[in-house]
Amino acid sequence: MITVRVGPEDFDVAAETARLTAGRADIGAVVAFTGLCRNEDGRLSGLELEHYPGMAEAEIYRICGEAVARFSLTAVTAIHRVGRIAPGENIVLVLAAAPHRHAAFDGASFVMDYLKTSAPFWKKEHFTDGSAGGWVEAKDSDDRARDKWS
């Protein structure tokens, strides 16, 4: 079971976990990754999350499908917020459920590493000093984290 959601709404990790595990008793492990907006030592007033509607959902769905197949996951949920996000707020949630813990850990980690590098989202920073900020640059370390899986 794969659930993907992209939109401005916040999410509740307990509600999403309950939805993932409802009515089944073959799940022994759920790993939930929550990505949050840091304030960067007080310099950041917020992030603006832009995405490619349609492709963003499709790409996340494809990544989740690969994770399910590769790690024999029971279920995956991925939720990515867009629009303006303040420091301390949620950005992304990935839940992976499996019979055993290592598959759930690997599944959630795999989805995050691929989501970072291939799902069409872009972050723009806004600073507390009123300066325009700019688009966050992609990191080589994210490419390397993804390449570890291949």
């Binding site: 349609g54 492709m55 499709a58 790409e59 989501l115 590098t117 069409p120 989202f121 872009w122």
Partner: protein
């Protein structure tokens, strides 16, 4: 006519999020498209200055720069992604 969509700083520099443009027959691949757009004005030249970092999606799927664009309903150009 090809439908083009732009995101993030590619969109900002070109000054629009989407457009329909006529492409010469010589534009066969994603790389050809980027080279052609750069001739259309300073804003395009600036947005696509470092053409090799630009990512291309055809009909919402990632493609390499040497992929043919024939038959594409929608071609997207955007910077490396920074979600998550």
């Amino acid at each position: 006519m090809a439908r083009l969509v732009y995101f993030a700083w590619v969109r900002e520099r070109i000054g629009k999020g989407e457009e329909e443009i006529a492409l010469p027959a010589s534009v066969r691949t994603g790389a050809d498209l980027i080279a052609h757009l750069k001739t259309l004005g300073e804003e395009y030249a600036h947005a696509l200055e470092h053409g090799d970092v630009i990512r291309i999606a055809i009909d919402q799927e990632h493609v390499e720069h040497d992929e043919p664009i024939a038959g594409a309903r929608e071609i997207a150009l955007f910077p490396p992604m920074t979600g998550g």
